[in-house]
C-alpha cells in the first residue's frame, strides 16, 4: 500500500492509503478528522472543501495521493483549543451555522477567499462560496459572517 506523506494542519503526517482512495475518506476514516463532511460525493456541493497548498478543493473527488508532499488544511487546522480563528468566531457572531453540516466547507472556502483577497466585495464573497451549497440558511448570514471576518481581520492588520 502506498504511503501518503503530507503536511496536515501544520504537522507532518504519514498514512498508508489505497491507490484509489480519495482525500476526504482518508481524512475521515484513516486520520479520524471528521470535520470534513461528505454530502454529494461528486464535487458538487463543497461540504468536503479543504485547502491544498492554499487552494480550496473538493476533497471527495481529490485523489488522496495527489496530496503527496502538499500542505493540506482542514477545519481542524483552524484556530486553537483556547481560541477560534476569526472566521470561525464571525460565523458564530452572525448566527451563521444552522444544522452545521455545510459549515466546515464554508469556513474553509471563506479562508481561501480571505487569504487571497483580504478585502473582498460582496460579489467576490458570493463567488468565493459559489461552490458551497447550504440548504438551511439561504446564505445571507454566512455572507454577513464573512464580511464581519473581513472587517475584523482588516482591523487587526492581518491574521493572528
Amino acid at each position: 500500500m502506498p504511503t501518503l506523506k503530507m503536511t496536515l494542519n501544520g504537522q507532518e503526517v504519514s498514512v498508508d492509503v489505497e491507490p484509489g482512495d480519495l482525500l476526504a475518506y482518508v481524512l475521515r476514516d484513516k486520520l479520524g478528522l471528521i470535520g470534513t463532511k461528505i454530502s454529494c460525493g461528486e464535487g458538487e456541493c463543497g461540504a468536503c472543501t479543504v485547502l491544498v497548498d492554499g487552494k480550496s478543493v473538493d476533497s471527495c473527488i481529490y485523489p488522496a495521493l495527489k496530496a503527496q508532499g502538499r500542505e493540506v488544511v482542514t477545519i481542524e487546522g483552524l484556530g486553537e483549543d483556547s481560541r477560534l480563528d476569526p472566521i470561525q468566531q464571525a460565523f458564530i457572531d452572525r448566527t451563521a451555522p444552522q444544522c452545521g453540516y455545510c459549515i466546515p466547507g464554508m469556513v474553509i472556502s471563506a479562508k481561501a477567499l480571505l487569504d487571497e483577497t483580504p478585502h473582498p466585495t460582496r460579489k467576490e464573497i458570493e463567488e468565493g462560496i459559489s461552490g458551497n451549497l447550504c440548504r438551511c440558511t439561504g446564505y445571507y448570514q454566512i455572507i454577513e459572517a464573512i464580511e464581519l471576518a473581513r472587517e475584523r481581520l482588516a482591523g487587526k492588520g492581518g491574521r493572528g
Binding site: 463543497g46 487552494k55 495521493l65 459559489s130
Partner: protein, 296 residues
C-alpha cells in the same frame, strides 16, 4: 477505482509509463471528471499517471503573438490570468464559468478538452480561438487543430492511455479583435450549461474582417457555425446583420430533446439568442479597443 497512482517527473517518463502499462494506464491532471467516471465504472484504467509534478507545464505565456497554455493550467488560473483577460478574454470568461472555485482550482483546461464533451466551456472558447493542441507521443510531438481531437461524445482522438496533450496555443487577439462568451444554465453557479456560445470578431474599420462562432452542446462535439460566421465577413456588423447571422447559426445547429437540458425547439431558439448576444458584445468590444488591450 485504480490500483496504481504514479507521478512521472517529465513528459517522456509519463509516456514511458503509459507504454509500459500497455493501454491500462491513463493520464490524470486534475481528475475532476476522471474520478467520477472511474467511480461510475466508465474509466477502465488500472493506473493513473498524474502529470501535476512535471515541471514546466504550468505556464500561460505569449510568444510572437501566440498564447501558450500548459497542460497543468487550471480553469481558475486561466480565468484570473491578466494575459488571458486582456488578449483572449473570451477564454477567461469561459473558464470562469466552470463549476465553482473548488473545481476551477483543480480541473485543467487541457483536461477539459481531452474529456471531449460537447458542452465543455473552455473548449467552446478554444474552438472560437481556432486553437491547436500539442500532442506528445512516444514517437514525437505534433500540433493539431483542436477540432481534430474530437472523435465523438466523450471520445478524444488522442488516446489518454498512450499519449498526452502538453499544451494549447492560439493567436492572441490583436487590434480590432475581441470575443465574448455566453452561457445558459439551470442555475447561476455550479452547473453544467444547457447551452454555451463563444464568438470572436475582428474589425477592419467598420467592416468585419474575420469571425468565428462556436456553440455547444448542439452536436457530438463543439459546433463551429461556419456558414453563419461567413455571412458576417465583409459586412458592417449592425444589429440587423448580427440578428441574421444568429438566425443562420440557429438553423445550422441541431440540438436534441434532452430530459435535463430542455427540448430541441427551445435549445435551437436559444442558440439564436446566445449567438446574437455573444456577437454583439464581441463587436462592441472590438470596436471599442484601439491598441493592444481588448476587454470584452
Amino acid at each position: 477505482m485504480w490500483d496504481e497512482y504514479l507521478f512521472p517527473a517529465s513528459v517522456e517518463e509519463a509516456l514511458e509509463m503509459l507504454e509500459a502499462h500497455g493501454g491500462e494506464a491513463r493520464i490524470i491532471a486534475g481528475g475532476t471528471d476522471l474520478v467520477l467516471q472511474s467511480q461510475r465504472g466508465q474509466c477502465p484504467a488500472k493506473a493513473m499517471v498524474d502529470i501535476s509534478r512535471i515541471s514546466g507545464l504550468d505556464y500561460i505565456e505569449e510568444h510572437n503573438g501566440l498564447i501558450y497554455i500548459g497542460a497543468q493550467v487550471t480553469h481558475g488560473q486561466v480565468a484570473a490570468s491578466p494575459l488571458i483577460r486582456s488578449r483572449a478574454g473570451v477564454l477567461a470568461e469561459a473558464c470562469g464559468s466552470v463549476g465553482g472555485p473548488q473545481i476551477r482550482n483543480v480541473g485543467t483546461l487541457v483536461g477539459n478538452v481531452v474529456n471531449a464533451l460537447p458542452a465543455a466551456d473552455g473548449a467552446i472558447a478554444l474552438f472560437a480561438l481556432d486553437a491547436e493542441a500539442e500532442v506528445a507521443e512516444r514517437r514525437g510531438r505534433r500540433w493539431t487543430p483542436i477540432a481534430n481531437l474530437y472523435a465523438g461524445v466523450g471520445l478524444c482522438t488522442v488516446d489518454p492511455c498512450a499519449a498526452m496533450i502538453t499544451q494549447l496555443r492560439f493567436g492572441a487577439l490583436g487590434k480590432g479583435e475581441a470575443g465574448a462568451f455566453e452561457r445558459l444554465a439551470k442555475r447561476r453557479a455550479l452547473v453544467l450549461p444547457i447551452l454555451n456560445a463563444a464568438a470572436i470578431v475582428g474589425l477592419d474599420g467598420d467592416k468585419v474582417e474575420g469571425a468565428r462562432i462556436a456553440i455547444g452542446p448542439v452536436a457530438e462535439m463543439p459546433f463551429l457555425a461556419v456558414e453563419a460566421a461567413g455571412t458576417l465577413v465583409g459586412q458592417t456588423p449592425v444589429e440587423e446583420r448580427i440578428a441574421w447571422v444568429a438566425q443562420i447559426a440557429a438553423q445550422a445547429a441541431q440540438p436534441r430533446d434532452s430530459l435535463l437540458r430542455g427540448s430541441a425547439e427551445y435549445r435551437k431558439a436559444m442558440v439564436e439568442v446566445l449567438v446574437q448576444r455573444a456577437l454583439w458584445r464581441a463587436v462592441k468590444a472590438a470596436s471599442l479597443q484601439e491598441g493592444e488591450d481588448a476587454n470584452p
